[in-house]
């Protein structure tokens, strides 16, 4: 499969830069080529593969080459000699799952060597048997993984996933619109904000937060009944017209303008908007906030294991991880990033959203890993709330 160099785009602010290489959408996909690329070679994990690597990640999730700085992808390629194709085709966990399901579900392989599902999706892929073990024996820097992420419920052996970036979901609000500081999940349901509340389409973040507000620990649930009270509360809020919309990342504009007074939101989004609009605040509620992380996993049959190992080792070097974190502004799962970041961007290194203090850290709870059947119940109930 062809791989293309990441092209730089001079003169645009870092927020607007998109690192892309469109190997998938690229020229002349003839049927034979398509079959050859996607089709069922069972080149298992035994051989190390070639010197190429295809990594499909979320958009705006890596530091680009611009403003005189070299981006991580370019630095890695120069340092390791690996031809990395970095693609931002991972837009949504469920949509991506629907794309790979016809292939991985019938025993075929997919193109990318590394993909970036959120931890719960990684858990689902693992349970379905669609993942290969990571070549961790060739990734010494994996030891730098923060303890909080070791052996999570979604990957109990810790051998199938390595976190990419982490983040929290909490309350994002516009202080001008609310008129006061917000502290609790109950504020989301304050009648004063009726019709000006937005929540996330990400079920675990929205439901997780509401559960925490009801005093239930989302990391300890295993049946639907335990969470029913949260769904009832959400259903009522929706029926009352209290919730204006369920959004992806697109709540930030409306939040900045005050159209949404308060949202369930993500720390990184708020951080990026705050520079231009200091009215937008983020808080991890006193009852707690949800912790999530996007992972690097290798789908079954991924060929370029050595190259993948080199990449993972590279991004788990605190020096490199700090550069990524400086741009992406989500929580890095690598130890020692804070010290390195202080050398590049001291202000960022002190930002509590990026490096929460211990008290806040204790309140960050990941959602439990649900079994297939229970997850189906959760998803069905959540679909009712979202209106679908």
């Amino acid at each position: 499969m062809k791989s293309r160099q990441v092209r730089r785009r001079p003169g645009m602010s870092r927020r607007e830069f998109l690192v892309r290489s469109g190997a998938l959408g690229a020229a002349g996909l003839s049927l034979p080529a398509l079959l050859a690329a996607c089709g069922g070679s069972d080149d298992g994990g035994s051989s190390g593969g070639g010197n190429q690597l295809l990594f499909e990640n979320w958009p705006l999730y890596i530091d680009p080459t611009e403003d005189g700085l070299t981006g991580s992808v370019d630095r890695f390629m120069a340092a390791s000699g690996v031809e990395l194709t970095y693609s931002e085709a991972y837009n949504d966990n469920l949509e991506y799952f629907a794309k790979i399901q016809p292939l991985l579900g019938t025993g075929k392989t997919i193109e990318p060597d590394i993909i970036a599902p959120t931890q719960w999706m990684a858990g689902r892929l693992l349970n379905l048997g669609w993942l290969d073990e990571l070549p961790l024996d060739k990734v010494p820097n994996a030891a730098n993984l923060e303890d909080a992420f070791k052996n999570p419920p979604s990957d109990p052996t810790g051998k199938y996933s390595l976190p990419w970036q982490s983040g929290t979901a909490g309350i994002a609000y516009n202080i001008e619109a609310t008129g006061r500081e917000l502290k609790s999940v109950a504020d989301l349901f304050d009648p004063e904000f009726a019709g000006r509340v937005a929540m996330l389409t990400e079920m675990r973040d929205t439901v997780g937060l509401v559960l925490l507000g009801e005093g239930i620990d989302p990391s300890k649930i295993s049946t639907f009944d335990e969470a029913a009270v949260a769904f009832e509360k959400l259903a009522k809020a929706k029926a009352d017209g209290h919730i204006r919309a369920f959004t992806g990342n697109d709540y930030t504009d409306d939040l900045g303008l005050g159209n949404f007074a308060v949202c369930v939101g993500w720390s990184g989004d708020v951080l990026q908007v705050q520079a231009d609009n200091p009215n937008v605040r983020f808080v991890v509620p006193e009852e707690g906030g949800t912790l999530w992380w996007d992972t690097m996993v290798m789908p079954k049959g991924a060929k370029n294991r050595d190259a993948a190992a080199k990449w993972m080792n590279f991004v788990y070097d605190p020096v490199e991880a700090a550069k990524i974190a400086a741009y992406v502004q989500y929580i890095s799962p690598v130890k020692g990033v804070r010290e390195e970041l202080a050398k590049i961007d001291p202000e960022l290194a002190d930002n509590p959203l990026l490096f929460p203090d211990d008290a806040t850290k204790a309140r960050l709870i990941p959602f439990a890993a649900l079994s297939e059947d229970v997850e189906a119940e959760f998803e069905a109930a959540f679909s009712d709330i979202v209106g679908a």
């Binding site: 092209r7 785009r9 003169g11 645009m12 927020r15 607007e16 998109l18 892309r20 290489s21 469109g22 998938l24 959408g25 690229a26 020229a27 996909l29 049927l31 398509l34 079959l35 996607c38 089709g39 979320w58 958009p59 705006l60 931002e88 085709a89 837009n91 949504d92 949509e95 794309k99 016809p102 292939l103 019938t106 997919i110 193109e111 389409t201 959004t247 992806g248 990342n249 697109d250 930030t252 504009d253 900045g256 303008l257 990026q272 908007v273 231009d276 609009n277």
Partner: protein
């Protein structure tokens, strides 16, 4: 007498005004799209007007994902339109020129895809493709899906256009000694060509624009609308507007050239 003429005139003016407003309504979002291609959004979403800038137009292809998706869309549209035009025109000629058993039933069949909601068309094709392993989801399946609904459009449009065609011209040509093949290519085809071209232009537009059917059948191939949708939860860069405006300008240009040439041909034919 004068009252009714005045009423008639007021009515006519009102009607024209109404139509102008209607056209303005049709173009309002287009104007917004073009306008916002000059916007410099503060955040990741190009929804609120901030300030004027030419930067986006200086680097229209800076978003590589968008650009490659657009290129994919154009290729798909080109290929599917070509196939659908040929197949659809053949059907149209068959239906319009000949009277044969089963033509009524066939017309009904032709209209059926138009009366099926896109979501049903898309999802049913997806279930078909899921159940086999000859083709993978991707470029091929998208082209197949597009041709499927384009055929109906092309066939019906061309048939409507060639309804008034004087088939005795063919007879005349054959009387003059031309073989059926020659008759078709030299006499029939040039005369029905405008209808076919109009239909293929419409089919091309439908293919570029298609979202719902493509959504279900694309696999990992990304077309322009899919790219916009996929990214729209995370960001809406102004390059979307730039590329959309460019497509618009190109189509308008083609249409203007087409109509100018048509007008010139009409004038030329009218000359004694």
């Amino acid at each position: 007498m004068s009252i009714s003429t005045r009423r008639g005139r007021i009515g006519r003016i009102l009607l024209n005004a109404y139509a102008v407003v209607g056209f303005a309504y049709l173009f309002l979002p287009i104007a917004v799209i073009v306008l916002f291609s000059f916007n410099k959004p503060k955040g990741k979403f190009n929804i609120v007007w901030q300030e004027f800038t030419l930067d986006n137009w200086k680097q229209p292809f800076s978003d590589e994902g968008l650009t490659s998706a657009l290129w994919t869309s154009l290729k798909i549209a080109g290929l599917s339109t070509a196939i659908a035009t040929v197949l659809g025109s053949m059907i149209a000629i068959g239906l319009a020129r000949y009277r044969f058993k089963g033509s009524g039933a066939y017309e009904f069949l032709l209209v059926l895809p138009l009366t099926t909601p896109e979501i049903v068309l898309g999802s049913s094709l997806a279930t078909l493709f899921l159940g086999q392993s000859i083709v993978e989801f991707g470029f091929t399946t998208i082209v197949i899906a597009h041709v499927m609904f384009q055929i109906s459009f092309v066939a019906l449009t061309v048939r409507a256009r060639i309804r008034g065609f004087d088939w005795t011209l063919e007879q005349a040509a054959q009387d003059l000694g031309a073989s059926p093949m020659r008759t078709f290519w030299s006499v029939t085809f040039p005369l029905i060509l405008p209808g076919i071209l109009a239909a293929s232009l419409l089919a091309f537009a439908l293919s570029i624009d298609d979202f719902i059917i493509t959504f279900f059948n694309s696999g990992s191939t990304i077309t322009f609308p899919l790219q916009v949708f996929g990214a729209s939860r995370v960001q809406l860069p102004p390059q979307i507007n730039v590329l959309a405006s460019t497509i618009l300008m190109v189509t308008v240009t083609i249409m203007v050239i087409g109509s100018l040439r048509g007008a010139r041909a009409a004038r030329r034919d009218a000359r004694p």
